[in-house]
Symmetry: C3
Subunit: 373 residues, 3 copies
Amino acid sequence: MPLTLPPLVDHHCHGVLRHDVDADGFASYLTESNAPAAPGTTFFDTQLGFAVLRWCPPLLGLDAHCPAERYLERRGELGAEESTRLLLRASGTGTYLVDTGLPGDLTGPGELAGLGGGEAGVIVRLESLAERTADAGQDAASFLEVFDHAVTAAARTAAGFKSIAAYRHGLGLDPDPPGAAEVHAAAARWLTDRPPGGRITDPVLLRHLLWSAVRTGLPLQLHTGFGDPDLRLDHCDPLLLTDFIRAVAPHGCPLVLLHGYPYHRHAAYLANVFTHVYADVGLALSHTGARAAAVLAEALELTPFGKLLYSSDAYALPELYVVGARVFEDALTRLTDSWTSSGAWSEPDAARVARMVSAENAARLYSLVPAGP
Amino acid sequence: MPLTLPPLVDHHCHGVLRHDVDADGFASYLTESNAPAAPGTTFFDTQLGFAVLRWCPPLLGLDAHCPAERYLERRGELGAEESTRLLLRASGTGTYLVDTGLPGDLTGPGELAGLGGGEAGVIVRLESLAERTADAGQDAASFLEVFDHAVTAAARTAAGFKSIAAYRHGLGLDPDPPGAAEVHAAAARWLTDRPPGGRITDPVLLRHLLWSAVRTGLPLQLHTGFGDPDLRLDHCDPLLLTDFIRAVAPHGCPLVLLHGYPYHRHAAYLANVFTHVYADVGLALSHTGARAAAVLAEALELTPFGKLLYSSDAYALPELYVVGARVFEDALTRLTDSWTSSGAWSEPDAARVARMVSAENAARLYSLVPAGP
Amino acid sequence: MPLTLPPLVDHHCHGVLRHDVDADGFASYLTESNAPAAPGTTFFDTQLGFAVLRWCPPLLGLDAHCPAERYLERRGELGAEESTRLLLRASGTGTYLVDTGLPGDLTGPGELAGLGGGEAGVIVRLESLAERTADAGQDAASFLEVFDHAVTAAARTAAGFKSIAAYRHGLGLDPDPPGAAEVHAAAARWLTDRPPGGRITDPVLLRHLLWSAVRTGLPLQLHTGFGDPDLRLDHCDPLLLTDFIRAVAPHGCPLVLLHGYPYHRHAAYLANVFTHVYADVGLALSHTGARAAAVLAEALELTPFGKLLYSSDAYALPELYVVGARVFEDALTRLTDSWTSSGAWSEPDAARVARMVSAENAARLYSLVPAGP
């Protein structure tokens, strides 16, 4: 039975490119790799590549599974803006919570939501905020003060914060907030040694960022699991956050574990046993395409149904909004169909859980007014 | 084709509450968490919650998937004892091997089996035995001597021992038996520092407990994987036991890896390559409910069919006996149906393996006389 | 829809026994264990055992799922050579890339391919090559020189190299090539201390072997994941190779991650994000039998379709060639059927990916001319 879903709340996504891309550029966004495909292979020959060519061509007037060249040709004829509009509007997304911390000629939250016909919110990436603050070239005391004000200011309007400590150091961080002197010394060292545009990787500073966000009480998103090869996947197991999660518990700050794959069962466990932990499988559903139902099913083993969120983690290509939404809905439909037809779940429960995961959980967590009907 | 199963041997379970519970109390047993549900959520909205409301209401004269309130109301009308009797007897359990180490107003093994109409055996929890011994307030030498006698005495009547070293320290223990002087010093330290009722967490003492059980030759159950947030899940990967397993091999003591989830494939590997290792997926089937067949299937990839055991790990709620048994049987039926209909397994093999896993393996391992039909 | 596959390229396999085996000998090859089955159990009661008795008896004129005794009796009547011929020829294997590093009375590559009616290539096992070199009893300088020449000579004719560093030390090796002085000292130490036939386990020497192979530019196969109990499974997670993979990247040497189970999703991730990394699930499909489709599906989540390879990892029993091939084809057929019938994949794509994974990827990687139809 097809589920009737509300407009999706995509609680973790990014801007899309303002300009057209060629075939190689397009393919480079179908992988988390930052290197070329191996000789004789193409990134279109992946579950994500197949999913793009399944779902997107019909939205631009072509047959599903048409050749990639044909699709890109059609996309070029329409232009980046019109393609983006058609694709976003077909995705069924009602609310976009946009991580604005990625570089590049990308649409901002309002622009994205305008093209897609939805509402926008902002997720502030802590590391980008700190690096932009450092770019102003101050000393450690000023840097820390300005960053502190920036976090406080951001908390007044943002839906939440996000950390990519997973990329910058791995999740095996000391769980407790660092002391002021320690933070000052680390900041001084970093500001002195930092090349222009240099990334923040010092574990003391990364912990300071995390705790600065925790103190605001807004939801804090944490990258865990699968991502580009900047990270070491085994250092991104969400279980490495266990002691941090325990340390945060008394502070009342919800922690949202993003992606998690292939450790999504670990994230689900944490969401099960810790009151303030939530989970999504964002990126993992798009990248596993035809296998998304299997991955979502694993996340739904232990994650309480009130704590699983939808996200596309779409970035650069509006196609990734379509794929994120379609594979999620398709996966959710298959699973609930299978569980209701076996009698394991009732149909009303299935419909209720589908609404929760698609939009209601995120609306409650981020204090949103869900987009209309 | 429905499998015809013998009465189940539940080789790892616990007593149930002697008294009625209210809705919050009931819900608190539907999770391994020891904290409240997140705002706007309930532990009934989990795979385990849905499984309870699928299987149990019909046994008390209600429709499956009725509202939780209606179910609890009916349960209250019947009272704890009558509900327990109805639920246990419907579970199809013939033998209960009860870990008696949990606190609370719980039924003992004989009482439980009496209510359920089956046979009872005892699994002695090593840490509880040591803590009860320490409660008597002796010095280290006496403590060790009394504990040693208690293990020897228990071995005469118990079906096996159980360790929760996973909770108390994690499984990354030194694999070898500690020396006598080392044990004495650790015991002296613990008995001196111990607050009333204090838990045993010293790794030397935990190893002493394990090796005390190994020397009896009775099956030794080890908690691995998923459990309450007292443990760190990544410290409970059964592979951390590899060197302990090797050290135990010459002693002829069977080791039984409980639960394992989400590391149940790791436990299955160990059962495959080490003669004296057995596995179950106890707790994991109940908690994953509609997904139990997928989890059981993963355990059945490498576990030799003569070495997988059934358990409910039920605790406090008789409902958990029903859920444990029904999801196990349902999962086993689905898997064997699928494998026989594809031709991968023959029907006689499927029926034989189902009997082995349900009862015969446990009967052989624990030297039981299986309960009659 | 049945897939039409080309003759398989089995890029990682071993010789088969030249002589007959009795029932216990046969059963000992159905497990990675090197110890007897537990009391009351048999290795025939495993997914691999069931798969052997599903696929092989019909090839020798018996019914599928006949008793093991009947199968072994028939096999004995035919004799080892004739059974091997019948089984290999029925496996559909066109090319055998044989790891020649295992001891025992096994068929060589040419002999194996002759019996099976296919082409042969050689995979040189680095550790065996080093140990054979050391058997000649030279000093460190000569040993290193002779080994170096042996690698260079092997590279002229071999299809690739293989390392079992996973067994000898685990994969947590320092990623960089060791310095010449360090290697010399380690070699001197090893040659002095080595008992006759002693294995190479020194991590400096294991790294020297790996880098000697990397410098040839031929594909380097690395054992990862599931294997016999000589290894510690948690030390064989392919993610432990991440820094080695990064260090190898500039050298243009393809790395092939074998087996991987239960970490095959980790291997798939590495193949996704690193240009020069390939993966197979060899051993894992045979050993999981009725579950092979589920395991293959997990590998196909992130592995780019141009980078997944087929292998049987068959060893000693020709039955393992049959099982490897049949469970692979059956799994691939089920998955592609399911994905095309849901519309996730197109039928031409499914057929194309099936050819790639069965033969074309390996032919490209190892510069083979695929065997004719």
